[in-house]
């Protein structure tokens, strides 16, 4: 995890100050530096249902509009992460949908891993697992692994207690652990069937 607080890169700080002084074009550097991570988050969140570019644009537009509230003595990345997650949640809310972390139900989750008798390699299990997860769980994994958000931050976004976020994430990983098998045994095939 890269959660250690650092000062912002000087060129990003200068860009923020320049934008605030009216030089909008200076925002380009921030887009260039952070596009990949934000697009990754939103693409995986949308899960192929639609192209992520529009929503990604929306996230940067929101960040631009709200730049007056950004503390330029801090790094821009973590702030942008939160704007991106907020944008995703707002987008679903506008559609009348909600991203709700349903209680972990292993039987349902097992079906997300692979079909009966299916045997797949570790990385494929995980890719498939993430793609088939309920949206809230996918977002949970992304917030943790793609954005390095703290459990506290994740719990705010999902409106769930920290303990519930940790517990659900752990149980989902436990299921994956069973599915991918022992690392020492790789690259053997693993099955999700027949586990206690």
């Amino acid at each position: 995890m890269t959660g250690t607080p650092k000062g912002p890169p000087p060129e990003e700080r200068e860009a923020v100050l320049a934008v605030r002084q009216g030089r909008k074009e200076a925002f380009r550097l921030l887009v260039e530096n952070h596009w990949e991570r934000v697009h990754n988050l939103l693409r995986r969140f949308l899960n192929g249902s639609e192209p992520a570019e529009d929503l990604c644009q929306e996230a940067f537009l929101q960040a631009f509009t709200a730049l007056g509230t950004f503390d330029e003595t801090r790094p821009f990345g973590p702030w942008m992460n939160r704007v991106a997650v907020t944008t995703a949640l707002q987008y679903r809310r506008k559609q009348g949908r909600q991203v709700v972390l349903v209680p972990f139900e292993e039987v349902v989750m097992r079906n997300q891993v692979s079909g009966p008798g299916e045997k797949v390699l570790g990385q494929m299990v995980v890719d498939e697992f993430l793609a088939r997860l309920p949206e809230s769980y996918r977002l949970l994994f992304l917030m943790r692994y793609a954005l390095d958000l703290t459990y506290e931050e994740i719990s705010q976004f999902l409106a769930e207690p920290v303990g519930s976020v940790k517990g659900n994430l752990f149980r989902a990983r436990e299921l994956l652990k069973q599915a991918v098998g022992e690392p020492a045994a790789a690259p053997r095939l693993a099955s999700v069937e027949g586990k206690p």
């Binding site: 934008v19 605030r20 909008k24 074009e25 887009v31 596009w35 990949e36 991570r37 697009h39 990754n40 995986r44 570019e53 990604c56 644009q57 940067f60 537009l61 631009f64 509009t65 709200a66 730049l67 007056g68 509230t69 503390d71 973590p78 702030w79 939160r82 704007v83 997650v85 907020t86 949640l89 707002q90 679903r92 809310r93 909600q98 709700v100 570790g122 990385q123 299990v125 995980v126 993430l130 809230s136 692994y145 793609a146 931050e153 705010q156 976004f157 999902l158 409106a159 940790k166 517990g167 752990f170 990983r173 994956l176 652990k177 991918v180 098998g181 022992e182 690392p183 586990k195 206690p196």
Partner: protein
């Protein structure tokens, strides 16, 4: 297979260890145990493997790469957008700024002028709406805003509220949760020059309340403000809250450093200032409670709650001042129902 993962009583600690939740001593102790326990060692290794795989699966792919054409497209939108920090004062904030510039004694007159303006705007608005009034959300019609198990008021961003990025939570953009819900017990800060519309949804037993009860109350907060959602209403540490509750509703409390303002069916404005809280009642009734006094307000009045606990009348203006400065008319706080039934039908049990 996986037998090494079974049957060690300390495997429950693995999650805490992975999450960094163990105190240093417990962490060291568990690590010593892992060195001697092949089962825990294997489980830990497997979890790390999963974390590596998940980390890899969450990394950006080629389709996420930044491309000049993509940056150009987003920059086109940004160049066309209003400048950031363009916290252009709304008429409302202009009014506030003017109010702050006035000597304390002049504030109530202005506040009451505001009340009249709001009322006038409300009336002219309702006159423009023909036919039946828009339906008001009935109690319990907003499952999306129901926080599990919570009773009392639950706050969410009002529909169409564009203020999300301006609401700050510990210096970072607000996390409102999936339904736009604000969390109880958290302090929220609204940036200067911004305003925020909230819906306060009441959850709980309605038995003692009248059937026409409205359980979604509109609250408008004007920045710079600091507040905290509470089951009974809002804790307003600084800033201004305008409440336009014109129908019977559950008691709604605005707590301020100088005392409590309890709405009993009303339209009112609360502003927290250094050492005092100003309350302007436009219509309806309020119950005010300070550490030393309790007072009912009815009708159009303005008072000042002092840090000492005193409640002082802040005087009533003899003539409305709004007509002399129509440009300062604030936007209407959350829309009133055109067929206002008046505030006094509220259940009297409070």
């Amino acid at each position: 297979m996986n037998e090494p993962n079974l049957c060690c009583s300390r495997q429950a600690e693995i999650q805490a260890w992975l999450d960094g939740d163990l105190a240093p001593a417990a962490r060291a102790d568990f690590e010593r145990h892992v060195a001697d326990c092949p089962r825990c060692a294997a489980a830990l290794k497997a979890f790390r493997h999963v974390d590596e795989l998940v980390g890899a699966a969450c990394r950006p792919g080629p389709e996420d790469r930044v491309q000049p054409a993509r940056v150009d497209r987003v920059m086109q939108r940004i160049l066309a957008a209003p400048a950031p920090g363009g916290t252009a004062p709304t008429p409302w904030t202009a009014w506030l700024a003017a109010a702050r510039a006035l000597p304390a004694g002049a504030w109530p007159a202005l506040a009451l002028a505001l009340g009249v303006v709001v009322l006038v705007v409300a009336l002219s608005w309702s006159a423009r709406v023909p036919g039946p009034p828009p339906a008001v959300a009935p109690p319990g019609s907003s499952p999306g805003h129901q926080a599990a198990g919570e009773t009392g008021f639950v706050f969410s961003l009002a529909a169409g509220s564009g203020a999300v990025p301006f609401l700050v939570d510990n210096g970072l953009p607000l996390a409102t949760g999936p339904a736009g819900l604000l969390a109880r017990g958290r302090h929220y800060e609204l940036a200067s020059g911004r305003k925020l519309r909230l819906d306060a949804d009441f959850h709980g037993p309605f038995r003692e309340l009248s059937p026409g009860l409205v359980t979604r109350l509109p609250v408008e907060i004007t920045g710079p403000a600091r507040f905290e959602p509470r089951p009974a209403g809002l804790l307003l540490e600084s800033g201004q809250a305008a409440c336009a509750f014109r129908e019977p509703h559950p008691a709604f409390v605005v707590e301020t450093p100088c005392g409590k303002v309890e709405s009993l069916g009303t339209r009112f404005l609360v502003e927290v200032r250094p050492g005092e809280t100003l309350v302007a009642l436009e219509e309806g009734r309020l119950r005010l409670t300070t550490p030393t006094q309790e007072r009912m307000l009815t009708g159009r009045q303005a008072v000042r709650l002092r840090r000492s606990g005193e409640i002082e009348p802040a005087g009533a203006p003899s003539t409305p001042a709004y007509s002399s400065s129509p440009a300062a008319a604030p936007p209407l706080p959350p829309a009133p129902r055109p067929d206002d039934q008046g505030a006094d039908t509220l259940n009297q049990s409070y």
